[in-house]
Amino acid sequence: MNLSYTVLIPLLPLFMFLFLGFGFKRFKEPYSGWIGTIGMLITALISFYTAFQYFFNYGKVDGVYQKIYAFNTEWIHFSDTLHIDMGVLLDPISAVMLIVVPLISLMVHLYSIGYMHQEPGFTKFFAFLSLFTFSMLGLVLATNLFQIYIFWELVGVSSYLLIGYYFEKPSAVLAAKKAFIVTRFADFGFLVGILMISYYAKTWDFATLTSLDFIHQLSSQVGMFMGFSIITWALIFIFVGGAGKSAMFPLHIWLPDAMEGPTPVSALIHAATMVVAGVFLVGRLFPMFFFFDDGFALQIVAWVGAFSALFAATIAFTQYDIKRVLAFSTMSQIGYMMLALGVSGYEGHEGLGFMASFFHLFTHAMFKALLFLGAGAIIHAVHSNDMNDMGGLRKYMPVTHITFLIAALTISGVPPFAGFWSKDEILAAAFEHNMPVYIIGFVVAGMTAFYMFRLYFRIFWWRDPDYHHAPHEAPKTMTIPLLVLAFMAVFSGFIPFSELVSADGKGFHSHIDWVMAGASVVIGLIGILLAYVFYKRENDLSTRFAYAFGKFYKWTFHKFYIDELYFFVTKKIIFQNISGPFAWFDRHVVDGTMNLIGNKTVWIGEKIKGLQSGKIQDYAMFFISGALFLIMVFWLLLN
C-alpha cells in the first residue's frame, strides 16, 4: 500500500500559496478567492479520504491503531538515530486533525469570499490563508519533533501576517507584533526542550519517543535534576511552547489582541486550529508526559489548563467586544482540553481524558468556528464589534441567529448537541482522577453557559436600537459555511470517538454516566436561565450587580491587569535597568571597536589597491617570487 500521495495534503496549499502569492497582481477578485477555495476543496477531499481509510481500512492492526509513516525523507543527518526528517505521520490524532484543519479551512475560504469582498489585498489574503493551511497541516502530520518545530514557527509567521492584515491600523500592527513576540518567547522554551530531548534521548522521531520500551529504557538511563528526571524538565519546557501557542495562563495575553485580524482568520487560526496546537503537542508526546516521574509534567498541564479555564471564563463575563468574549471563551475551552489531558491515564478506559480532550478539540473546532463566523456576519452587518451597538438582530439575520443559537447551546453543553458529549467525557475523566480539577471544570461549565448566553441575548434580543441602515443577512458564500458548521455542531457528538482515538491506540467503549451528565446539564441550564433573566430585555440588573462587586468587577474588566503587569516588568524593570546599560555599552564600546576595525579594513583595502598595477611584468614577478617563496619555505622546513 503506497501512501506517499499523502504528501500532497500539505503541498497543495503550499502550491496555492506560491501560485496566488507570486501572481497576485494578475488575479482579480473574486477569482483568486475561488481558486484558493477549489485548491482547498481538493486538499480537503484527499485529507478526508486519507483519514477515513486510516480509521476504517488499514490503520488498525491487531486491534491497535498504528503509527504509520506515510511518507518520510531524511533531510539533515546528524547521526544514525538523530536526524531531521520531513514526512507525513498517520495516527489517530493526526487523522482527526486531517478532518478538522481542512474542513475549517475550507469553510473559512468560502466564507472569506463574501467577507473580504472589496477589501484591498483580497488575493494576498487568500495566499496567506493557504500558507497557514500548509503550515498547520505540516505541523499535525510531522513525523518528528524538529519538523513540528519548523512548522510551529511557520504557523506563527502566518498568524503574524494575518493578524497584521490591516497593516495601516496601528492597533493591528501592535497586536501582530505582540502575538509573534509572546509566542516566540514561549517557543524558546520549546526549543530548549527539543534540544534537551535530542541530547538525552538522541532521537526526535515520534514513533521511537512514544514507544513504551524506549520510554522504559530511557527513564532508567537519564539523570535527575532537582528531584525529577531530566526528561520531565524537557517536557515542561516543551509544554511552555505549547502553552504559548494555546494561550494558557500566563502566556495568554496575545490572544484577545489577535482579534484585530479579519474575523475569518480568528475563526480559523485563533479558535479552531492553531491555538489547539499546544493540546496536539501534549497529545503527541502523551506517553512521555504520562510515564516520566509518574506524570508530574502532566499534573502541571492539568493545573495550568484548569486555572486558565476558570480565569478566562471570569474575564469573559465583563467584556463588551464580542470577538474578545469569544477569544476568552476559546482560551477557557482550550484550558478544558488541557485539563482533560492532564487527568488522563494511559490504558483502556483510564485514557478517557486523552480521548475526551481530542473529542472536545474536534467539537470545539466546529462550534467555535461557527461562533466566530457568525460573529463575523454580525460585524459585517453592523460594522462594529461592540455589543452595545447591537441588539434585536434576530429579525434581520435569521440564518445567523439560528446557527449562533445552536453554537451557543452546543458550547453550553446542552444535549444532544456535540459539546454536551465531549464536555461530559472531560468532566467524567476529571471526576475519576482529580476531584479539585473536576470542581473547577464543573463551575466553569456553568460560567460558560452564562457568558455565552449573555452574548447571545445581547446580540439578538436586548433592545431594538435605531440602525442607520437596516442590517441585512450575509451573502450565500457566508451563510453556507454557517449551515455546514451548524450541522457538524449538532451531530458530531454522535461520532464514537472513543473507538477511534485513545491514548494506547486500542480504543474502548465509553458510556454516559447519567448522574454526572445530569449535573453538568443542570448547571448549564442555570447559567442560561440567569443570562435570560439578566439580558433578555434591556434592564439595569447587570449594572447593579457590577456595582455590587465593585473592585472585583473592575479587575475582571481590565483582565486582572496582566497586560499592565507585563508592561511593568518589561518596560520599567528589564528595559530600563538591564537593557539600558547594555545598550550604552553596545553603542559606545562594542560599536566603537567594530567601527574601528571596519574603518581599518576599508583603509587597508584602499592602500593595497596600488599593488594591482595593471602591468603584466609585475604580475609575472609576483608569480615567480611567490613560487620561489613557497619553495624556499619548504626547503627550510625540510631540514
Binding site: E74, G605, Q612, F623, L630
Partner: protein, 475 residues
C-alpha cells in the same frame, strides 16, 4: 580496445561532434546568423542531456584517460554550467551581430575549451593533464579578445595569453622535475616513488603554481581582475566558474592520491595560500566600483575558501569541495548573468549605477541579491550549506584557527556583497537604470539558477550522492 571501451569517452566524443557540426553550420548558415546561436545552444543542450545517461567507470589508452562516477558527474556539472553561460551569451552575441559575422566561432571556442577541461579532469598522467590544460586555456585567450573593437578586451586577451604561457611553463617544469624524481608520468605509479627531497618539493610547488594560476590563488591571481574586467562578460563568467572548478578538481585528485606522500608539505602550503587568498581577495574586493572587477576579486576570495575545504585531504574534503563547487558555479553564473543583462540593456557596469534598480527592475534585483547572498553564505540559500560543509571539513581535522580566519573573511565579504544589495534596494537615484526586459533565454537561465540556488542546498540527496561517489581516497 573496442567500441564499447571507446564509449567511456562518450562525453568527449559527443562534444567533438558538436564542435564539428557547429563549424559546418557557421559556413552553411549565411542568411540569418542568429540561428547559429540556437543551433549551438540546442546541440549543447542535447549533449548535456546525453551526459546524464549512466556511464561505467574505467580507463583508456593505457591509463592515460580515466573515468569514474565522480569524474563523470563532475563533467555533468560543468555541462550544466556551460549551458547556462551560453544561454546568457546569445543575447550578447546578438547585440553585437552587425560587427561579427562568425558567431559559430564563439561557441566552437568555448566548447573546445570545455573539451580541454574534460581531458584535464579525466587525465591519468601528467602529460594528458598538461595537454588538457593547454587545450582549455588557449581558446579562452581568443575568447577574451573576442570583442575586437574594444581595447580592454584585446588587453585582456594579451594579458591572459602571456600569463598563461608563463604559468604553463612553470607547471611543465614542475612536472618534468617530478618525472625526474621518480621516473614515471603516471599518477598510479608515482605515489609510492616519491621521497622528500629538494627536488620533489620544487616540483610540487611549481606544479601547484601552474594550477593555482587557473584557480586564481594568491599570489598567482593578478591576471584575474584585468582579464575579467576586459573580457566579454560570458567569457569572464566562464573563467570564473568552469575553468576554476575543473582546475580545483584535478588539483584535488593529484594532491590527494598521487602526491599523497608529500602531504606534510602541501597541507601547510594550502594553509598559507588559503589564508593569503581569502584576505587579499576580500581586501581588494572592498573598494572596487566595476562589478566585473568586483566579482573577479570575490571569486579569488572564494578560491581561498575552497582551499580551506581541501585541507582535510580525505573523502569528506572531496565531497564538500565538489558540493561547494557545484553551488559556487550556480551562484556566480547568477551574479554574472544579471550583471551582463544590465550591461547589455544599459551599458552600465558600476555599483553606483545600480542605485534604485529595485524600483525599476525588481526581478533582476532580487536575482542578484539571491546570487550574492549565496556567494556570501546567507541561509537558506545553497551557498550557506556549501560554506558550512567546508567549515565542517576543515574543523574535522582540527583546523579551528583557519575556520576562524574564514569566518572573519566571510564577514568582510558580507560587507561588500551587501554594498551591491544596498545600492539596488535601499539607495535611490535620479537616473536609475530604466526598466528593461532581457530576452527569453537569459530569463530562463536566471530562473534556473535561482531555483538551483534553493534546490541544491535544501535537497539533501544531491549531497548524499556526491558523498557516495567521492570515496576516492578511502579515508
Amino acid at each position: 580496445m573496442n567500441w564499447n571501451t571507446m564509449l567511456l569517452m562518450r562525453q568527449e566524443i559527443v562534444l567533438t561532434i558538436v564542435i564539428l557540426v557547429l563549424l559546418l553550420a557557421d559556413v552553411f548558415v549565411t542568411k540569418d546568423k542568429k540561428t547559429v546561436n540556437y543551433i549551438a545552444i540546442g546541440l549543447f543542450a542535447i549533449h548535456t542531456l546525453i551526459g546524464f545517461l549512466p556511464l561505467d567507470a574505467g580507463s583508456l589508452f593505457g591509463d592515460s584517460f580515466r573515468t569514474s562516477p565522480l569524474i563523470f558527474g563532475f563533467k555533468n556539472v560543468l555541462n550544466v554550467g556551460v549551458l547556462l553561460i551560453i544561454m546568457q551569451s546569445a543575447s550578447w552575441l546578438n547585440s553585437k551581430m552587425l560587427q561579427y559575422q562568425k558567431i559559430g566561432e564563439f561557441y566552437a571556442l568555448i566548447f573546445s575549451s570545455l573539451l580541454g577541461m574534460y581531458f584535464m579532469i579525466s587525465a591519468g598522467n601528467f602529460l594528458m593533464l598538461y595537454l588538457g590544460l593547454e587545450l582549455s586555456t588557449l581558446p579562452v585567450a581568443a575568447l577574451a579578445a573576442y570583442d575586437i573593437h574594444s581595447r580592454k578586451s584585446s588587453e585582456a586577451g594579451i594579458k591572459l595569453i602571456l600569463s598563461a604561457a608563463l604559468s604553463s611553463g612553470v607547471l611543465l617544469f614542475g612536472v618534468s622535475i617530478l618525472y625526474a624524481a621518480n621516473g614515471s608520468m603516471y599518477f598510479a605509479n608515482i605515489h609510492d616513488n616519491l621521497g622528500h627531497s629538494y627536488l620533489t618539493i620544487m616540483g610540487l610547488v611549481m606544479f601547484f603554481s601552474g594550477l593555482a594560476f587557473k584557480i586564481s590563488l594568491v599570489p598567482f591571481h593578478f591576471w584575474t581582475a584585468d582579464v575579467y574586467e576586459g573580457a566579454p562578460t560570458p567569457v569572464s563568467n566562464y573563467l570564473s566558474v568552469i575553468s576554476k572548478a575543473s582546475a580545483v578538481f584535478i588539483l584535488m585528485f593529484v594532491l590527494f592520491i598521487t602526491l599523497r606522500e608529500l602531504k606534510d608539505i602541501w597541507t601547510p602550503m594550502l594553509y598559507i595560500v588559503s589564508v593569503l587568498t581569502m584576505f587579499i581577495g576580500n581586501f581588494f574586493a572592498l573598494r572596487q566600483q566595476n562589478l566585473k572587477r568586483f566579482l573577479a576579486f570575490s571569486s579569488v576570495a572564494q578560491a581561498g575558501f575552497i582551499m580551506m575545504g581541501m585541507l582535510a585531504a580525505n573523502d569528506l574534503a572531496v565531497s564538500t569541495v565538489v558540493y561547494f563547487l557545484a553551488i559556487y558555479i550556480f551562484s556566480n553564473i547568477g551574479a554574472f548573468g544579471v550583471v551582463q543583462a544590465v550591461s547589455i540593456a544599459s551599458g552600465k557596469e558600476n555599483i553606483d549605477d545600480y542605485n534604485g534598480l529595485y524600483r525599476t527592475n525588481p526581478m533582476m534585483s532580487l536575482a542578484i541579491m539571491i546570487a550574492l547572498f549565496s556567494l556570501a553564505g546567507v541561509p537558506p540559500i545553497a551557498g550557506f550549506f556549501g560554506k558550512f560543509f567546508l567549515y565542517t571539513s576543515a574543523a574535522s581535522q582540527g583546523y579551528y584557527a583557519l575556520v576562524f580566519i574564514a569566518v572573519v573573511n566571510v564577514t568582510i565579504s558580507l560587507y561588500y556583497y551587501l554594498l551591491v544589495v544596498r545600492a539596488a534596494f535601499l539607495r535611490n537615484s535620479e537616473t536609475p537604470i530604466p526598466y528593461f526586459r532581457s530576452d527569453l533565454l537569459t530569463r530562463i537561465g536566471i530562473i534556473i539558477v535561482m531555483i538551483g540556488l534553493f534546490f541544491l542546498g535544501l535537497y539533501s540527496p544531491f549531497y548524499d550522492y556526491i558523498q557516495e561517489v567521492s570515496k576516492i581516497v578511502g579515508i
